[in-house]
């Protein structure tokens, strides 16, 4: 057994050449392909991570915006509710005011109508009383009624104050005696005598008739009037009734 060193060296050179060639044409290209793909995968993973980060950021922004929208919606709803409540209160207040105004107007109108009705009723009652009084008077003796009113007139003159009696006596244009019917001469003389006794001195008398008095005898001067008739009594009663109501 012997070793051929020429063959040993030649085989060593062959293997070295093979190592070099395979390193160049096999190991490096395949390893480079692996490395290249690993780099590509790394890049893809990095891009994916970046995209995921961006997506997470966008999701966070969307979530924040959605929360903002929800808060804004809540705020708007609250404001709208407040506005609606204020408007409703305002409308209710206006409606109440208008209703109160209508009620007040209606009440005033009702009072006015009641007053008008009462006045009309009073007028009708007064007219009815006048009619009754006229019918009742028609059954009485006119002279007796007249003398009664004369007596009442004399009493009224006596109840006047001294100043009033003085103003009657000093009437420049005389005294107008108003009666329901025309007074005859005898009654005029009697009446003139009675007034003269009541006033002391007597200015000129003028006798006129007025059926509106119903019954009675009144004195009128330009500055003075002494009512003494059923017509004035009824007017006084009607006023009293109106004031009483």
């Amino acid at each position: 057994m012997s070793i051929d060193f020429w063959s040993l060296g030649l085989q060593a050179v062959n293997v070295i050449i093979l190592i070099w060639l395979l390193s160049r044409f096999f190991w490096r290209p395949v390893a480079a392909a692996i490395s290249k793909r690993q780099d590509a995968v790394g890049t893809l993973l990095s891009d994916a991570q970046t995209a995921k980060t961006n997506a997470d950021t966008l999701l966070a922004e969307v979530t924040t915006a959605r929360e903002g929208i929800a808060a804004e919606r809540e705020t708007m709803l609250t404001e709208a509710a407040k506005t609606a409540e204020i408007a409703a209160n305002l409308t209710l207040t206006n409606a109440q005011k208008q209703a109160q105004t209508l009620i007040d107007t209606a009440q005033l109108e009702s009072v006015r109508e009641a007053d008008a009705l009462r006045a009309e009723l009073t007028a009708q009652a007064t007219q009815l009383a006048v009619n009754i009084a006229q019918k009742l008077l028609s059954r009485l003796d006119t002279a007796v009624v007249q003398s009664a009113f004369v007596g009442l007139l004399v009493e009224a003159i006596g109840a006047l104050s001294a100043d009033d009696r003085q103003s009657l006596r000093a009437a420049d244009q005389g005294i107008e005696m108003v009666s329901t019917l025309d007074i005859n001469e005898q009654d005029k003389a009697t009446l003139t005598q009675a007034l003269g006794q009541a006033l002391g001195s007597l200015p000129a008398l003028t006798f006129v008739s007025d059926s509106e008095l119903i019954a009675g005898l009144e004195i009128k001067t330009p500055h003075f009037a002494l009512h003494n008739s059923w017509q004035s009594d009824l007017t006084t009663i009607a006023k009293a009734l109106n004031h009483a109501e």
Binding site: M1, D4, V15, W20, V30, K36
Partner: protein
């Protein structure tokens, strides 16, 4: 029957005898290189089946190197991978009738062992420097220098003797059985020879890695151990 220990010289190139093993080696080289050129054409980022197979080979080799050396596989990949591929193809070339694998010849295995020996020196110096490489012989202490030098030679010697013995014996046994029993009888032994060829290629490559790694690690500057602080007793004043 011709002795397997004797090289079959086909012709002479001056003083250099060209043996059958050398011619077979050249043929294997051509096949491997042409195969590499063909297989590594059109490598793409999205691999096909062919590229996936190539990448599986490279990744497996890188994983083996990384697990054995603990270092990046790029600087060892070409040497260790080519050793494995060449020995594997050479061992399996015995399947071709009438062809003697180059690894069944002492000169081829010796040449491979010589390259491993030189690569140990090369990687030891390139990783740890000349001083570091020579310091690796003094591990763990100076007394071990003669033994380490002897070991660096004997382990290489054992590598090529192991490879040579296994491959040569396989070829020898198959030749004896074929000459005695006929053509079809050695087929089971040839199948066993395939397994033996694969295992021997793997063992040779792994041993080369282990030897290189041991030298590289021992040539690296050592980090002094810090004084242990545990157990640490603390007293409260």
């Amino acid at each position: 029957m011709k002795s397997p220990l004797q090289a079959n010289v086909l012709f002479q190139l001056g003083p250099v005898p060209i043996t059958e093993a050398v011619i077979t080696t050249w043929a294997i080289m051509v096949v491997l290189i042409l195969g590499s050129l063909l297989l590594t054409r059109h490598l793409a980022t999205r691999p096909g089946k062919r590229q996936a197979m190539l990448e599986l080979i490279v990744v497996t080799l890188d994983t083996q190197i990384r697990e054995t050396t603990g270092a990046a596989p790029a600087s060892y990949r070409g040497f260790i991978g080519t050793l494995f591929l060449f020995i594997l193809v050479a061992n399996w070339s015995s399947l071709i009738p009438g062809l003697t694998p180059p690894t069944a010849q002492l000169e081829t295995d010796a040449a491979l062992a010589l390259l491993v020996f030189l690569s140990i020196i090369w990687f030891g110096i390139s990783k740890g420097g000349v001083r570091g490489y020579f310091k690796s012989f003094a591990a763990p202490n100076l007394i071990m220098i003669p033994l380490n030098i002897l070991e660096s030679v004997t382990r290489i010697f054992s590598m090529f003797v192991r490879l040579f013995g296994n491959v040569m014996s396989g070829v020898f046994v198959i030749g004896i059985v074929a000459s005695l029993a006929g053509l079809l009888v050695p087929i089971p032994l040839m199948a066993l020879d395939l397994l033996t060829g694969l295992v021997q290629a793997y063992i040779f490559a792994v041993l080369a890695m282990v030897f290189i790694t041991a030298t590289v690690e021992e040539s690296q500057p050592t980090v002094k151990d810090s004084t242990p602080v545990s157990p640490l007793l603390e007293r409260e004043s």
